[in-house]
Structure formats: structure tokens, C-alpha cells
Symmetry: C2
Subunit: 587 residues, 2 copies
């Protein structure tokens, strides 16, 4: 190799050895007629010294060096003079006295400093991604990504899971988002779709008896890239036969425990708590609750059964709910402006407003105070999650039940942040299960599957199928970390009759279900096993573990929110001839 | 879980234990009023006994069972009665006396027997792939594939290689084949291309300082599927910085040694022999020689410098060559028909014919004999690869040098097979290096890159650039196994000026090179390191290791040679609305 050692390797154990190093000039400075170069590679940084005392010619050549030149250096390892050592880096006790220099390639002045810490626009970073990836935070992210993904593979292999590659050029799967299409040249007028997930294939692998499957799967969704999405993303996709949901929870818990230990030296406590969808919606107003802090919600409708307060009274009369959010003795004294801002925020969440009261020594202080009877105040205090104390602030949402919970759930998150209640660097995991099987789609006037149509109903609710569709729980579950949905899965239907019932309820006509996934229904005619699984979003997991702003910071070559790659300029126009070969035209 | 043990697990160590098994009915038979079921899963087979003596009701239910029903059984482990044990399977000493039976799902009669060994048409196998994958040979192939790929990852991780995922939705890379295109909805009229390989991205990762990269990469080529190709295929893609070709050979050799040991318990002998392109073309008439047998070629033009034989004379006069292929004392006596068949085959390879002679005790026996002078025969015998003995047969090709070698190389393979010279179950590896940098494209009247335009010229030939393009060697290499090109790679150009020279020679105008991979040229302005790499075709490697007919037998869900999936029926028509959203029309 064009080196004997990396730039992170040499120590005083190598003194007086002749070595060859290769790497990039991180910095180069003249000091007392001697050139000092910090030579960088993936492994570290080594100081190289070009002295005219060794060779005037070599020293002269070293003065050509500029940042990011790629060079090779031969020299001798020497101890750094006293007072010039650097204890921050492993090579900080030594330097290499150069006797030879090869300039492999020169570099223009980069658009930003590789070792700098100035804020860089994402546009520039993505355009010059090859330089952005030289920066320490990106090196760290990509190396950590590799480490985590390999740790996952290693663990699952040790548990007899088999990684199977499912096709990228395939047929649309019914995940609800738009497909990326690939025109077929051989069968003109027909198209492949890139998979939104390997859902059907992994279920077919269970039919085939692979028993324990996983895949680091590339998935593709042609969505409008609101928030933090990518057209292509990675998920750890997993499926098992002959299991209950608890078996799947156990595998994911053991997997994450192993990965956190091996990659972060963090001991996760398992099992993670399990909550039902109903629980967390009522307590946290969210199906992905951030459990790093309290601030629970309570339905206090019964407290106000005989209220004089018009808005509460009307809400209850129309079948709505009064939901309270107790802030026990907040560390911050809320100003009038705080209440106004929160009220505005609540309106953005769809509420009419955000009523509140403060508990005082004397009773309560609130714009509502005059409408509240003393027995109501007493009943309220008893109904709240924590023993009520002077200083507590209580907020109220009055609306349709689900809306009140959802909106107050958002207020809860806002308050958690505002009050500094959210500890950083901690991991609060939970499983949320028993999601509804169906959701009423008001626009289309029909029932939709909450997850996907292969999700099994909860056996205790099977009798409600077609009778009370809105109250059927499913055997589905999400893995939630610090308020983020990290994984999602379910026990699947393996009974063709039950599958047909679900299709009937969501109004999927037999001819359409056959067209979309007839091959899966066909496969299920040949003894499908009971099975279930889940998938973890890898990009999001890494973003959280690394504390980054965006999933784009954990992907080597991401697309922007406009679904383009500023570096390659993909997508791009193509030759007319290519389109003609494919039998398509631009409309 | 819905089982306490797998079907490959129970032995006499479990006698009298109550167990729960799940799996598929591999066979079910009635014997003396008792039902015997072979219960199968990925892990093995267990015999389950339903006896009316235990429960008449259970026994009656067991009679409903048909092959491929998926069931769960609770029962007690018993020793099989003497004379009924099966030493071929690990569970062959026991059986499970059932006390409970759950039919998870029923199965129609499969279109073929899962445990059968009849020949199945590939069409039926691919249509019912979910059942085909239940068959032992496919279970073996997919599990072995997983094992090999994981072994590769594990080894490369241990050597500090970092796996980086490069984009699937990207821009065309210049690999020469047709791209699969993906219309962009957000940027209508523009297209992503699926990568033919991650070539440019891996070189950019070297520019970014990742130093040692690999990826199990999905690659896509929209080719007419002659031979054994797939629209999407897997390669182990690898790139290293600061290396020579020998460093890359060493990594691949150590990798393969590790994989063969851990997956096949075979000790490979490394280093593999290195040959130059010139060597193997001259000796074997192929750049991917099958070294499992001899039958070397020799250029014997000088022997015939003064020949009377018209065809040889004319060939030499026009600058061609006479190439000989010696078959030392073949085990088979060639009949007239053998010679005729070989002559016909040679003509199919583009030769005018295939001259031959037999060495006899007296001299030679050949249609050519009368044209050969005794001193020519003597000189020929000396020129042949092996000492000439009576019984030897020698074939001759007289044509342009490259054509004569190529065609006789094909004849060599044919003879190797015909004479049973090719041992099975052995692995003959070699590196073939120093391929030509350019090939003259007679149709287009221009120089083409033999590999891709980023391949470095051999430093000893750099002065020939633009002067003697046909005789420039490159720093490229192939890994050859038993006559198959398994891997291909090169040391890349890292000098922008040299890159420009190559583009000039292949006639790539600056505006076109900028359009196609301007971002890479731009990246190379910022200190690219010396680097190189290679890629192994995973599908082909597995096909060879498993001794299968086709790469389709080592891929879970392959496409046919018509680039369709008979199971999903992809590609398929799509909604008009989808095309409208994408801004494209069917022409």
C-alpha cells in the first residue's frame, strides 16, 4: 500500500521508525522556517514536519502544499519537542520528520473549510457532498450508520433470521403513497413499480416457510416531501412465523439492547412498557407519546356535568369532552403572553381556545373562576393526575373527544419544551398496541385500514367485523422512542375468509384486490402460517441517536426536499432515443 | 411462540416431554388405524402420530389433513418403536404422540409436489414461486446465499471496510448498457436512472476520504437478456484508497479464503496465480481461461514461415497467425465425425476451418500431411506446449491473430468437455491483468474504453497515450474462476489531466463528459487520492458454488429472460392518472 500506517496510528511506540503516510493536508503552516502539516485521513491526524535542515529542496516543495492537497510522505517518527505535544489526539506525542513528499493531487480552495465549524447552508453542503463528507460530523454519521446496521445484521443472524433480498423492480404494493414507476422497454406500455416496502414479499416468504426473515430494505415513496422524508429510505424489515405480538416485541427489544450496548455502550432496560392506543391517546393525546416527561391529560367531563360555563356545557351537550392538562407547579411563572401564545397555538391545532386556571392558596385564579362552583373545583382537583398544589396550572380543551385529546397532546409537547421538562440523552421506549383496525374516511365516505389491509383484527373484536367497524382493535403496534414512531408492525391475517371480510369492509372490489395483489391471495390458498412482523425506520433511528437535525445528515447522498440531488443534478433530461426505446413520451 | 421446539430439534434427549410444534404437513398416511404425519418447517421434519387410542376425536380430525396444510400440534415425545427409526434425519429416533391439533390453514393441492424430485418447468416454478421456495433445493439456495453474503460482510467489517449505501434513484452512469429510467413527478420531463453500478459514487467516496468502502449493491441494466442475466443483480462492490492492484488482490483473496472456509469448509490456496491478458489470450484463447485443464495454445507461425500450404501461407502473408492446440494423447479416439463436428464448430466461431494432424509412430497422419515438410513437422513438435508423443492430436487455426486465438479458445473448451478433462468440485482461480486500455470500434471508427473511462493506463505505457492507443495496457484486472469472470476492477485515474486525455481519445466531447459526470470531474478538483477497486457478481458466484443451472436458482424472486415476474405479473399496466401525474404518455 501507499502507506505503512494510517494517520491515527503512530505513537511513541514507533519512535525512530521510517514510515510512509498518505492523506490530505488539513492545515499547513510555517513556523521558524519549518513547514508543519497536519495530515488527515479517516483514521486521524498526524503532524508532519518539513525542515530545510533535512532537505532544502523538500522544504521548498512543502511550501507548495495547500489545504486538501492529497499527498504521500515518507519520514521518521520523532517525539514532539516538550511543550508542543497535543493530548487531544492519539498521535499528539509524535511528529513525522519528512524525507520525501509525493503530491498525488492538488486541490482548489474548497467552498468551505473542511475542519471548520461555521454554519453551512445545506444547499452548498449537498452540492459539494464529496467535501461535506470529509467533514468530521459526516464521517462520524456514515461510520456510525455502518456500525449500527452491521450490529443489527450480526444480532439477527445470531438468532437464525435469514436476510432475503426482495425485488426493486416489482409491482405496486398497497401502502397508500404514490409509486415510483419504471417503464418497461421489453413490454411497452407496462411499468414496474419501486417497492414502497417489501410487505407482500415478506408475507410470501412466510408462506414459503422461511420462518424468520429480515432485510435492510430500500423503500421508495413518491410523496411531497413535507417534513423529513426522502424518496428512498432504508428500513429494517422483519417477519416471523408462528408468533404472537409479544414474540416480536421480544426480538426487537433484544435487538435494540444488543445494538445500544455494542454501538453506544448504553444498557437499555427491557422489556419496554406496553400501552394500548386508547391509553396513550387519553393520557398523552398522541399515539406516539413522548414519555421523557409527565404532564398527563385527563378527561374531566364528569366534573363539569352541571357546569354553568357555556362553552363546556355546549361541548358536553353535543357529545364532546372536557380534557384537562395539569402542569404541577411549573418552574416558570406563566405570563399573560405565555397564555396568549398557548391559546393561539391551541387554535392552530383546531381548538376554539385554551381555557386555564391557576391553583392558589385561596382556591383558583382564572378567567373562568366566576363560572366554577367550589364543588367543581374540589372535584377537579381530585380528578387531576397528580395531587393538586398551589402553583399548579391546569389547561382545558373542550371539543370532540379525539380532537380535544390530539390538540391538548400538542400543547403538552409545547409545554414540555417550554418548561425544559424534556431531558436530553435519555431513551424512553414504549410499545403502543391495539390501534383501531379501521378509520372512517369522511371525504370518501368509507372505512380505510388504519395500517394496511393485511393487519389482523384483535381476536376479541372479531365479532364486531362489519357490525361495529369503528370499535375494532387490531393486532398492530408501534415502537415509540421519545415521541417518535420508530417501528410499526402487526400480526397479519392468515385466514383467506377474514382477509376477504376486510376487503369487503374497505370496499375493495374482488376484481381490484385481485389485480393489486392477487398473487398474494393465491399464495394464501396453500397453507399460510400465522405470522407477523414490523419494520424500523433506520434513517430516523440514526438521526435520533446522533442528535442530528435531519435524516439528510445520516444519509451519504440524500435528496433535497424537492427530491433532487444537487451534486449529480438528478433527475435530469434524457435523450429522445431513450424515451423512444421505452415507448413513452413527455406529455 | 406457537411452538416450543422446531421440527429439526427433538431427539431422545426430549423423551416424555410435552412439546408444541408448528409447520406444514409434508406427508400424512394411515397405518394400522393410526395417522402418521411428517411435519416440516425450515429446520427439519418430525413425525407426529395421531392415535385413536389417545383420542378418537383427535384421530378423526387428523384424517382431514392433506399435504401442505399448516398446523400446530401439542404432544409428547416418544421413542420410535424398534425397526421404525430413521437415521437420515436428526429427529429420526423419536416421534410426537399428539394430544392436540390446530389447523392454522388449509391448502389446495399444490401444482407440484414440494418434496418431489420430478423435473419442473421453470415457468410453473416462477409462477408459484412461494411453493417453489418451500422445496429443499430453493431453501438451501436462499439460506446459503444469506450465509455467504453475511460472511462477506463480517469479513470486510473486520478489516475496517465501511458499507455505504449509494442511491438507487440517481443519474445515469456510463457503463455502456441501457438505463432503467424513473420519471420524476416533481420535475416533470426529467428522469432518474437506476444505477448500472455504484462506480462514480464509490470513487466519490474515496475523494471523501472513506478509504475502504464496500457495498452489497443492487445494479440495474436494461439489456436484452441473452444468456444468464437479470435486470437487477447484486454485486459486492469494493473500493480502496492508497493502493496498488496487489493490495486489492490481497483483500479479495483473503475475503474468499474466509468465505470458503466458513461457508463450505474449503481451504483455498492463496495467492491466486496472476496472468497478463496477453499471456492468457495466447495460451488459452480467452481472457477468462478455464484452468481446470490444460490444452494450451501456441502461436506456431514461425514454424510455417516457408510453408507450401496455401491457406497457412496466405494467412501469414496477410499478417495473420497460425495457432496450434495440442491434445496430448486424448482418451477418446477421434472419429471422422468428431473432426467434422469440430470443424463445423470452428466455422461457427468465425474460422475458415479447423486443420488437424495426428502424431503417429511414423510421423503424422493428416489431410495436410502431404504439404508438410519433415523439418516443419520436427519444428512443430518442438514448438508445442508438451513433448509430442504418438497419439497426440494437434488442431490449427489460421486467421487474424486475435480471431485465431479466440476461436481456438472456444475449441479448447469444447474439447475439454468432450474429453472429460474438466474436474467438477474444484476451484481454479486466477487474476488476469493488464487488459488493453482501448479497443478500436470498427463500426463507429473510434477508440472505446475496454473497461470504463476511469481506468488508469499502465504507467509504463503512459507515453503511448494518443500515439499508439492500441498497445496501451491498463491497470485493470479480472478475477476468473473455472472459466467465469467473477470480478472485475481497476486502479482508477486520479489525475484530471490524464482523465481528460482519455476522454479526448474516446472522443467524448467536453460538454458531453460534463453532462454525464461533470460532478465527478468537479470532485476530482479537490485532491482525489490514488484509488482502485473491483466488484464481484454475487449471483454468479453463488450459482457456481451451488452448482446450479441458472442465476435464477439463487435469487428468491427473479425475472424471466423476458424480464417479467410470472408470480406478480410485473411489469403491468398502470392507471392513466399515475401517468398524468408523472407528465408522461405511452407513445
Amino acid at each position: 500500500m501507499l502507506r505503512t500506517h494510517t494517520n491515527g496510528e503512530l505513537t511513541t511506540a514507533h519512535l525512530d521508525k521510517t514510515v510512509r503516510l498518505s492523506g490530505w493536508v488539513a492545515s499547513s503552516r510555517d513556523h521558524g522556517g519549518v513547514t508543519f502539516v497536519d495530515l488527515r485521513d479517516r483514521w486521524g491526524m498526524t503532524q508532519v514536519v518539513f525542515s530545510p535542515a533535512v532537505s532544502a529542496q523538500l522544504h521548498a516543495k512543502s511550501q507548495e502544499l495547500r489545504n486538501e492537497f492529497c499527498i504521500g510522505v515518507t519520514g521518521t517518527v520523532k517525539a514532539r519537542p516538550q511543550g508542543t505535544t497535543n493530548s487531544k489526539i492519539p498521535t499528539g506525542q509524535i511528529e513525522v520528520q519528512a524525507s520525501e513528499l509525493v503530491i498525488y493531487s492538488r486541490a482548489k480552495t474548497p467552498p468551505f473549510e473542511i475542519g471548520g465549524d461555521e454554519h453551512l447552508s445545506e444547499e452548498v453542503r449537498l452540492k459539494y457532498r464529496y467535501l461535506d463528507l470529509r467533514r468530521a460530523p459526516m464521517q462520524e454519521a456514515i461510520l456510525f450508520r455502518n456500525q449500527v446496521i452491521f450490529a443489527m445484521r450480526r444480532y439477527l443472524q445470531s438468532q437464525n433470521f435469514v436476510e432475503v433480498e426482495t425485488p426493486i423492480l416489482t409491482k405496486s404494493t398497497p401502502e397508500g403513497a404514490r409509486d415510483y414507476l419504471v417503464p418497461s422497454r421489453v413490454n411497452q406500455g407496462e411499468f414496474f413499480a419501486l417497492p414502497q416496502s417489501p410487505q407482500i414479499f415478506k408475507q410470501i416468504l412466510m408462506v414459503s416457510g422461511f420462518d424468520r426473515y429480515f432485510q435492510m430494505a430500500k423503500c421508495f415513496r413518491d410523496e411531497d416531501l413535507r417534513a423529513d422524508r426522502q424518496p428512498e429510505f432504508s428500513q429494517l424489515d422483519l417477519e416471523m412465523s408462528f408468533v404472537t405480538d409479544e414474540d416480536i416485541f421480544a426480538v426487537f427489544e433484544a435487538l435494540l439492547k444488543d445494538v445500544f450496548k455494542s454501538c453506544l455502550n448504553i444498557d437499555l432496560v427491557t422489556p419496554f412498557p406496553r400501552f394500548t392506543y386508547k391509553d396513550v391517546m387519553e393520557k398523552y393525546g398522541s399515539d406516539k407519546p413522548d414519555l421523557r416527561f409527565g404532564l398527563e391529560l385527563r378527561d374531566v367531563s364528569s366534573v363539569f356535568a352541571a357546569t354553568e360555563l357555556k362553552i363546556f356545557k355546549e361541548t358536553l351537550a353535543s357529545g364532546g369532552a372536557i380534557v384537562a392538562l395539569q402542569v404541577p407547579q411549573p418552574s416558570v411563572t406563566f405570563s399573560r403572553k405565555d397564555f396568549d401564545d398557548l391559546g393561539l397555538f391551541a387554535k392552530e391545532q383546531g381548538l376554539g381556545g385554551l381555557a386555564y386556571l391557576k391553583v392558589t392558596d385561596a382556591g383558583v385564579d382564572s378567567p373562568l373562576a366566576k363560572f366554577l362552583k367550589p364543588e367543581e373545583i374540589e372535584a377537579l382537583k381530585k380528578a387531576l393526575p397528580a395531587a393538586s398544589k398551589p402553583g399548579d396550572v391546569v389547561f382545558f380543551a373542550a371539543d370532540k373527544k379525539r380532537k380535544a385529546h390530539n390538540a391538548l397532546g400538542q400543547v403538552r409537547l409545547k409545554l414540555g419544551a417550554r418548561l425544559g421538562l424534556i431531558p436530553q440523552g435519555v431513551y424512553h421506549w414504549s410499545w403502543v398496541k391495539d390501534f383501531p383496525l379501521f378509520n372512517w374516511n369522511e371525504d370518501a365516505k368509507r372505512w380505510d385500514s388504519e395500517h394496511h389491509p393485511f393487519t389482523s383484527p384483535h381476536p376479541d373484536d372479531a365479532a364486531k367485523m362489519g357490525v361495529d367497524n369503528g370499535n375494532i382493535r387490531s393486532l398492530s403496534y408501534d415502537l415509540v422512542l421519545n415521541g417518535n414512531e420508530l417501528a410499526s408492525g402487526s400480526i397479519r391475517i392468515h385466514d383467506p375468509e377474514m382477509q376477504q371480510k376486510v376487503f369487503d369492509i374497505i370496499g375493495l372490489a374482488p376484481e381490484e384486490s385481485k389485480l393489486r395483489f392477487g398473487f398474494m391471495l393465491k399464495a394464501f390458498e396453500f397453507g399460510p402460517p400465522p405470522h407477523g412482523g414490523a419494520a424500523i425506520g433506520i434513517d430516523r433511528l440514526l438521526t435520533i441517536l446522533l442528535g442530528r437535525e435531519s435524516i439528510r445528515d445520516v444519509i451519504a447522498f440524500p435528496k433535497t426536499q424537492k427530491a433532487v440531488c444537487p451534486m449529480t443534478e438528478a433527475p435530469s433530461p434524457v435523450d429522445f432515443k431513450q424515451l423512444r426505446d421505452l415507448g413513452i413520451k413527455i406529455a
